[in-house]
């Protein structure tokens, strides 16, 4: 897994869960807000990804949840492995950006 880059959508889902546990609809909203609507997840794409992330142990389900919440809602939580995968991906992106900067594709930060 580590040698393969994550799809934008999967990476965004992991990012959403980086600092909070969220249920499905909240993930979609969070991603849309952070990317200014550029990445729009559909329910199907979200759960296709959730299923795989669960299978790969990158996220897991949270057992405790707020009492007044819809009981059908399940909350998802980033596992340490998931956190590492997301960080690796972020680092990979950063290395890419650095290379682009070295080739003057991007302006270097002061």
């Amino acid at each position: 897994m580590t040698d393969r880059s994550l799809s934008t959508q999967v990476f965004q889902i992991l990012l959403s869960l980086a600092d909070q546990d969220l249920h499905g609809y909240a993930i979609i909203q969070d991603v849309a807000e952070r990317t200014d609507g550029e990445v729009r997840l559909t329910a199907s794409t979200l759960y296709a990804a959730v299923k795989r992330l669960l299978d790969q142990g990158l996220i897991d389900e949270v057992s405790s949840r707020a009492r007044d919440d819809d009981p059908r809602r399940r909350y998802y939580h980033l596992t340490p492995a998931g956190r590492k995968t997301a960080r690796d991906e972020a680092l990979r992106l950063e290395r890419l950006a650095a290379m682009a900067r070295a080739k003057r594709l991007l302006p270097s930060p002061r």
Partner: protein, 883 residues
């Protein structure tokens, strides 16, 4: 609603394993999204969101199933509840695997199917474009063709009418808006490089508005343009605009010289508009002067009407009949015995080819049915060979329904692959048909294409075909106990044998019907080809000329110079070539026996010719004399053909009898005696009776503008035609030369339609015969292999090889006999629909039926002979040891 659809999709498409864990949550999240989308952009937004979900769903459906399968391989207990997609996908995978295993069978089946479906696709493309799709005009179902015909005509057809009658109809009608046209005007346009030869249609009574066509650019022709004082204008077809003017938008408003008159282009019509028939390059308003507007004896206007809102065709017919009654009272001389015919416009355009195309469509459908029967036969044989496999699967718990579905899935997949290949084959076949110009004589030929409707048709046919032959082996399954299969192994059951026999009988019967149809067409065609055309077409070259300015010396000079070309034997001019139609007609009046006042004379075709015409094209003189240089305007004479003598002078000597052509006050010439009688020519087509025809000397009708030159020559025609072109150019370089062809071409064009339908039906019948014979052969070979043990025992018990051979042969011929009987019955019923395509033979022509039966029996006997021979060589020892 959208949420419910989504839930249904999830449950239907996604694997059960996934749904158990996520379905509810997925749907609840989707419900949230749906609510948000609805709040943002209403119902449309909700549907957009639903459509956006589909790719994701499909991806899960496939991806999860893949992992699901690998998991299932390790699982012990099968899951009972699986959804439709699960088992369908499984069936499909299994079917593809099993088809791949018997690749030879698959290739043969797909190949024959593709051919059958391809032929259907191509012919259906033609039928679809010509017969089924609506005319490319605004609201075409409300357009009607209106015309005049004699009350005596058994099948009334829409014929042209005179200007005065047209205007009477137009002003009287409350149910229709009427317009008229006269097509086929040859026009020379000057101002775009070389003089351009264009074909135009004369438009009367605001026709363009009635057709409801909007110009692409510029404006339409209006009734105001038809005023004799209005500035001359015209509109271009899209095609001519592209071809001649290079799509230059600025041509609108420019003036060009058209046949010597300066005319302004006011508009360009949209692509595909070629009314009344392609090719048509331009339309110009008829600026009929007062004399022409009141003319009642020149029948040249085709009339089109648009039914007004609320009016149906029956009301229009009733109204026109009342109009005719009134006109008959007012103008008995012109209207007595006539009626006004109103028909849907579409019918008058395509009516003539309807039966021809439907017969062909029926023929290809039969070919496909035979193919189906053949593949069904193969499948039943395959099912027999797979009996043990299937029995094992059933023993392991597969339900009958599941196995039947499996077999049907296999055939549907086979048929769909065949269908896809069939579209490709159909496309090339259609291209072949169009390139071979077999469709030349069809109306709307420019519209023929393989469109989405054809694709839907092909897909539908493939599915039906797949279900049809897939059901046969499946049907067997449901009616046999699987223990039989385990016991008997790969030997077919009696019931399967029965089905296979029945299929072969059906194949032979269908082939018999097709062969009969083809045989009848072939015989008509042979008879037609043997018909005496009335001319001697070999070594006669023809070309057409349009003389724009009257020049009395042009024709004499032309004939003189053409005669000077080495190899030319005789040269003449005619207003219309023989065998190419009736041409212009006029009332035929006997001066020695005038008709009573209230009886309308009938119109007869006439041709304007120079003296040598008859010898040049080979029309024999029967009595009297040919034309000569003394027949002039001042002392006219005419020659008639035998058909005219038969009609007007039965038991009389026509020679010397005076006649005139035209209406009393509008005669082509005042009076002329008949000086000769010549042989008949089949001007209305080789299948039709000769028409009464009058020949008028060219010198009597000097102002004729358009004519054909006929040249009888020795040697080959190419150098003669080249020299003739040179001569014309030399005399007047502005004279356009058209339609260069030999008289033999003209004659062969007359049979083109019959020729191509005969050829196609012949090919289809040949394919049918071959398929049916292969079916007989396959069945008997299989029978010999499967029955080897029985035959072996017979041989061991002392049956002679002749006896064994007879046994096999008699089985084969028994089937063929049954098929033949069935086919004869079918042919007797179906060939009557071909009546209108036949010439000289009846639909039940005994000779054809006997001949076709003989061909079929011989072919089947030949096919039976090989397996029969093989049967005699069976070694009883090996045969008994098998199994």
């Amino acid at each position: 609603m959208t949420v419910r659809v989504y839930r249904a999709l999830v449950l239907l498409l996604l694997p059960t394993g996934f749904n158990d864990a996520f379905a509810e949550e997925l749907v609840s999240v989707y419900a949230d999204l749906d609510r948000a989308a609805r709040a943002r952009s209403g119902r449309a937004g909700a549907w957009r969101a639903l459509i956006g979900e589909i790719p994701g769903l499909v991806r899960i459906a496939f991806r999860e199933r893949r992992t699901h399968r690998t998991l299932r391989a390790r699982r012990v207990a099968p899951r009972l509840e699986e959804n439709m997609f699960d088992s369908l996908a499984q069936d499909a995978t299994f079917a593809i695997r099993s088809l791949r295993r018997s690749i030879g069978f698959t290739i043969v089946a797909v190949g024959t199917l593709a051919l059958g479906i391809g032929a259907n696709t191509a012919i259906f493309s033609v039928v679809n474009s010509v017969l089924l799709s609506p005319l490319k005009l605004h609201d075409p179902d409300r357009l009607v063709a209106v015309g005049e015909d004699s009350k005596a005509a058994t099948t009334p057809s829409v014929k042209s009418t005179s200007p005065a009658s047209f205007f009477d109809w137009k002003t009287s009608s409350r149910t229709m808006d009427l317009g008229a046209y006269d097509p086929g005007y040859s026009r020379t346009l000057i101002g775009m490089g070389e003089p351009q030869q264009l074909v135009g249609t004369l438009v009367v009574g605001g026709l363009m508005d009635i057709l409801g066509v909007r110009p692409l650019i510029g404006r339409n022709l209006t009734p105001a343009d038809e005023d004799p004082g209005a500035p001359p204008v015209f509109v271009l077809s899209f095609d001519a605009w592209q071809r001649v003017f290079g799509e230059d938008r600025d041509v609108v408003g420019k003036a060009f010289t058209v046949n010597g008159v300066s005319r302004t282009i006011v508009g360009v019509m949209p692509p595909g508009f070629t009314f009344p028939a392609a090719p048509n390059d331009l339309w110009f308003p008829a600026q009929l002067d007062a004399a022409v507007r009141v003319n009642r004896d020149q029948y040249f206007l085709g009339v089109v009407g648009r039914l007004r809102p609320g009016a149906g065709i029956e009301r229009a017919r009733g109204e026109m009949s009342a109009v005719m009654d009134r006109l008959t009272r007012d103008w008995p001389k012109f209207n007595q015995g006539n009626r006004i015919v109103v028909e849907p416009l579409r019918d008058t355009i395509v009516g003539s080819v309807q039966s021809r195309l439907y017969v062909l469509m029926g023929a290809v459908a039969f070919v496909l049915l035979i193919t189906c029967a053949n593949i069904g036969n193969l499948l039943v044989a395959r099912a027999a060979a797979r009996r043990r496999e299937i029995a094992v699967r059933r023993a392991l718990g597969a339900g009958t329904g599941r196995i039947a579905r499996q077999l049907i899935t296999e055939s549907v997949i086979l048929a769909v692959i065949g269908g896809v290949a069939g579209v490709a084959i159909g496309k090339s076949f259609l291209k072949l048909l169009l390139a071979g110009q077999v469709t030349t004589n069809l109306p709307r030929v420019e519209e023929i294409s393989l469109d989405s409707r054809v694709l839907v048709f092909t897909l539908g046919v493939s599915l039906v075909v797949g279900l049809l032959f897939g059901c046969m082996p499946a049907w067997h399954l449901t009616r046999e106990r699987f223990t039989d299969g385990l016991r008997e192994g790969a030997r077919g059951s009696a019931r399967q044998q029965w089905t296979r026999n029945a299929l072969v009988v059906v194949e032979v019967a269908l082939a018999m019907i097709l062969l009969t149809g083809a045989g009848l067409l072939l015989r008509s065609f042979a008879l037609m080809a043997r018909v005496d055309t009335g001319v001697k077409p070999d070594q006669v070259a023809t070309l057409s000329i349009l003389r724009r300015k009257p020049d009395p010396n042009f024709v004499p000079t032309l004939l003189e110079r053409l005669r000077g070309i080495p190899g030319v034997q005789s040269v003449a001019i005619t207003s219309m070539l023989p065998i190419s139609g009736r041409g212009i007609g006029a009332w035929f009046n006997r001066i020695d026996r005038p008709l009573p006042d209230n009886v309308q004379p009938s119109g007869e075709g006439y041709r304007v010719v120079t003296p040598e015409y008859f010898t040049t094209v080979g029309i024999p003189l029967k009595t009297g004399r040919m034309f000569d240089a003394n027949d002039r305007r001042e002392v006219p004479a005419i020659i008639v053909n035998e058909a005219l003598v038969k009609k007007y002078y039965p038991n009389e000597n026509p020679l010397g009898k005076p006649v005139y052509l035209g209406a009393p006050d509008n005669r082509l010439f005042d009076s002329a005696p008949i000086v000769g009688v010549v042989g008949d020519t089949r001007d209305a087509g080789l299948g039709s009776d000769p028409l009464p025809t009058v020949y008028i000397p060219f010198a009597v009708m000097r102002s004729w503008p358009f004519y054909s030159v006929v040249i009888r020559h020795s040697g080959s025609s190419a150098p003669i035609i080249a020299s003739a072109r040179g001569v014309v150019r030399d005399i007047d370089a502005t004279v356009p030369i058209m339609n260069v062809q030999t008289l033999a071409d003209v004659v062969s064009n007359a049979t083109a339609a019959a020729r191509w339908s005969t050829t196609l039906l012949g090919v289809f019948a040949g394919v049918a015969l071959m398929t049916a014979v292969l079916g007989v052969f396959g069945l008997l070979s299989y029978m010999v292999t499967q029955g080897a043990r029985e035959l072996g025992i017979r041989i061991a018990l002392g049956a002679s090889s002749g006896g064994v051979q007879r046994l096999v042969l008699s089985r084969g011929l028994g089937l063929v006999g049954a098929g033949l009987a069935l086919g004869l019955a079918g042919a007797l019923i179906l060939t009557r629909f071909m009546q209108s395509l036949l010439y000289g033979v009846t639909p039940t022509d005994p000779a054809t039926f006997v001949g076709v039966s003989a061909v079929l029996v011989l072919a089947a006997a030949a096919a039976s002979f090989i397996p029969a021979r093989r049967a005699t060589r069976i070694d009883p020892i090996t045969a008994l040891r098998v199994e």
